[in-house]
């Protein structure tokens, strides 16, 4: 079978917005604002029977008035008006469409309309995202079809596939305002009458702008096809997935939500393992994983060293590592010696590293810098996590030493978390993250992230 042509979704030469609105706050207006905010360079055609002008752009009264050669239509009308518009677009020669309207298979009345759309897609040989999608984004092409007010979307290397409107809207808003990493492609699948997760994954597999793929799915439409595609791509790019609807209660909610029919979770879980897909279980991890995959190399193994300013943290985090499948191994005698050299004589040094004495006696920057370098250098260690003590009392270090260590030990993931003053945690995050060092406010998160990255590395290097 020939590969489906999805390129025009991500690199459209021009775009028509069917249902453009002059009223601020309406989806048909916000989608135009988003396209403009992202500095899309292709032509934008707006269609609304009222004509006139919206945001300085002329408005055409009907789809028939569009020029020839339009590549992509964003149809942002009510469900009942969508089939007619899709048909008119097809007659105008438009082969690709994003169907934003909701109210289809997830409510009873919409089922018939959705069937009509399926028929049009088949008859006219169209490629469609949705319906009931919050849109898609392609930052390398400075383009988005999202109608949720997002403004400029930061460019990155990780791509997202999400079977929920929430991701491309509220979650993206959080990423843009609360984090520093960007995204490459974001695809809101909606009800999947045409493009499904297998198509999306296949496109991203060969997409040079995508280095890793993070997915949220409620159902898998063609699981055998998905397995076939995922099996191959996971050897080249990490694929992380949150698959919901794994319990009876979850499954019921999924049916009501996006008309998803969940297969038996145990088999889906087996299929994902076989495919080399790294399964995650928390919504938050969609964000954490995207951030980590954006900024960090994959670890060579699961051997972690961490430096904490508290005995309680050393114990609790060691236990956490065991639960997460991470190892906190002994370090080389030379490393132990170095750790003793930087500490007062009364304290026994090992991995994990109790850095409190060194940091408080010889300075926070000295203690962490020398301690981190000692374990980064150690051949038994694959990744390092400092729990950075940030108080005015003990002195706020310059964060540059962390950048220097990251540069010199670039093959080992280095993740920062904190203890103490929130003001400086934020300051440190805002300083380090744009320069490529991820930080996490909660001390467990670096380890959760490392466990995901380690599983990605294992999946990529798994035997045939």
């Amino acid at each position: 079978m020939m590969k489906k042509e999805f390129g025009p979704f991500f690199e459209p030469k021009n775009v028509a917005v069917i249902g453009a609105s002059a009223t601020p706050g309406r989806p048909g207006n916000d989608v135009i604002r988003n396209i403009l905010a992202n500095e899309y360079r292709g032509a934008i055609y707006l269609v609304n029977p009222k004509g006139g002008e919206i945001l300085g752009l002329p408005v055409l009264p009907s789809i028939a008035n569009l020029p020839d050669g339009v590549e992509l239509a964003i149809i942002i009308l009510s469900a009942k008006d969508t089939p007619q518009a899709l048909r008119a677009c097809a007659e105008k020669g438009i082969r690709h469409a994003v169907l934003s309207a909701g109210g289809f298979a997830e409510v009873d009345q919409g089922v018939k309309i959705q069937e009509e759309l399926v028929e049009i897609v088949r008859e006219k040989k169209l490629r469609v995202i949705g319906p009931n999608t919050s849109g898609h984004t392609s930052t390398p092409h400075q383009f988005t079809s999202t109608f949720f007010p997002l403004g400029k979307i930061r460019r990155g290397t990780v791509s997202y596939i999400a079977q929920t409107g929430n991701f491309a809207t509220h979650t993206m808003k959080y990423i843009l305002t609360g984090e520093h990493f960007g995204v490459s492609r974001v695809i809101g699948l909606g009800n999947k009458i045409d493009m499904d997760e297998s198509d999306a994954l296949e496109y991203l597999a060969d997409d040079p702008e995508t280095s890793a793929i993070v997915m949220y799915l409620e159902s898998i439409k063609r699981p055998r096809k998905f397995l076939e595609i995922a099996r191959e791509v996971t050897r080249r790019k990490p694929v992380v997935m949150l698959k919901s609807g794994s319990t009876e209660a979850g499954r019921h909610a999924a049916v009501a939500h996006t008309a998803a029919m969940a297969a038996e979770d145990r088999l889906i879980d087996a299929m994902l393992r076989q495919a080399g897909v790294v399964r995650i279980w928390d919504y938050t991890h969609l964000i954490l994983a995207g951030k980590a995959l954006s900024m960090l190399p994959l670890p060579k193994g699961n051997r972690v060293s961490f430096l904490a300013p508290s005995g309680a943290m050393l114990v609790v985090l060691s236990d956490l590592c065991v639960r997460l499948g991470l190892d906190v191994p002994e370090v080389e005698p030379a490393t132990v010696q170095r750790l003793h050299d930087i500490s007062p004589p009364f304290i026994r040094m090992r991995n994990p590293v109790d850095i409190w004495a060194s940091a408080s006696v010889r300075g926070v920057e000295f203690g962490y810098r020398e301690g981190m370098e000692a374990v980064l250098k150690d051949p038994n260690i694959d990744a390092v996590v400092p729990i950075l003590m940030l108080t005015e009392d003990t002195g706020i270090p310059s964060y540059d030493f962390i950048l220097d260590l990251k540069k010199r030990y670039s093959d080992k993931p280095l993740i920062v978390t904190f203890s103490a003053d929130k003001k400086y945690m934020d300051e440190c995050k805002n300083y380090l993250e744009p320069l490529g060092v991820p930080t996490f406010p909660e001390i467990e998160q670096p380890f959760e992230v490392l466990s995901i990255l380690y599983r990605c590395a294992k999946a990529m290097n798994r035997p045939e």
Partner: protein, 225 residues
């Protein structure tokens, strides 16, 4: 071998008998215990002499999918008198068409493997802890057919009780090479034989030298529509 399936389907049977199930599986290099079919207690005694005591005697029939529940299994029979006595009793069980005489496989470890079909995922292979507690312990792993040997190895290592693979109470480590091939074969059957709806091998016993062997097996046939 194809005839086994065809004949049973033609007769409208829901399953293959235990004996035929194992004959079918052994065509795919799945190791099965030594056994012979006997029409009556006397020929069962003759079979037993060939196989060597102690033996297991089972009621065998295409509709006898659950023998334990009807008392259809006599374990560890050591002489001709016991074989005759138990044979007479088993022949009276409803659905019993013949007597199955089997070697008494030694070894403490019991595994389970099988094949099932999912409407979306197609044939799926299962592996786990077997024996009478299979459902209680619920320690199994699945893979979607076709399986590579790598898939098989991974699923074998996925069960919680994976330590059972190691040397155990004087018995050797489980031969994972053979075990892996059994799982790959089950997937192959699922893909190549549409008329096989499901397979249970329970228990797949492990001999003291670590070699797995199917001691009981059930091939479920597709319902004709």
């Amino acid at each position: 071998m194809m005839n086994l399936l065809k004949e049973a389907m033609a007769k409208g049977r829901a399953t293959l008998s235990e004996y035929d199930s194992k004959r079918f599986l052994s065509c795919f290099d799945i190791p099965v215990c030594r056994e012979g079919l006997a029409e009556n207690p006397d020929s069962a005694a003759a079979e037993a002499r060939k196989i060597g005591y102690p033996i297991v005697l089972k009621a065998c029939g295409a509709d006898l999918a659950h023998k334990t529940e009807v008392g259809g299994i006599a374990l560890n029979l050591k002489n001709i008198r016991d074989v005759r006595k138990e044979g007479l009793r088993l022949m009276k069980i409803r659905g019993c068409e013949a007597l199955l005489v089997q070697e008494m496989v030694k070894g403490a470890r019991e595994l389970v493997c099988g094949l099932t079909r999912d409407p979306q995922l197609g044939p799926c292979v299962m592996f786990g802890l077997g024996g009478v507690f299979t459902e209680v312990l619920d320690d199994v792993a699945f893979r979607i057919a076709p399986l590579t040997l790598g898939d098989a190895r991974e699923m074998i290592g996925e069960i919680r009780a994976r330590k059972i693979l190691d040397p155990f109470r004087g018995e050797a480590a489980i031969d994972q090479e053979i075990l892996g091939h059994v799982l790959v074969s089950l997937g192959r059957i699922g893909l190549e034989y549409e008329n096989v709806a499901a397979i249970d091998i329970n228990p797949l016993k492990v001999r003291p030298d670590g070699k797995p062997v199917a001691v009981d097996a059930l091939v479920v046939l597709r319902k004709e529509r």
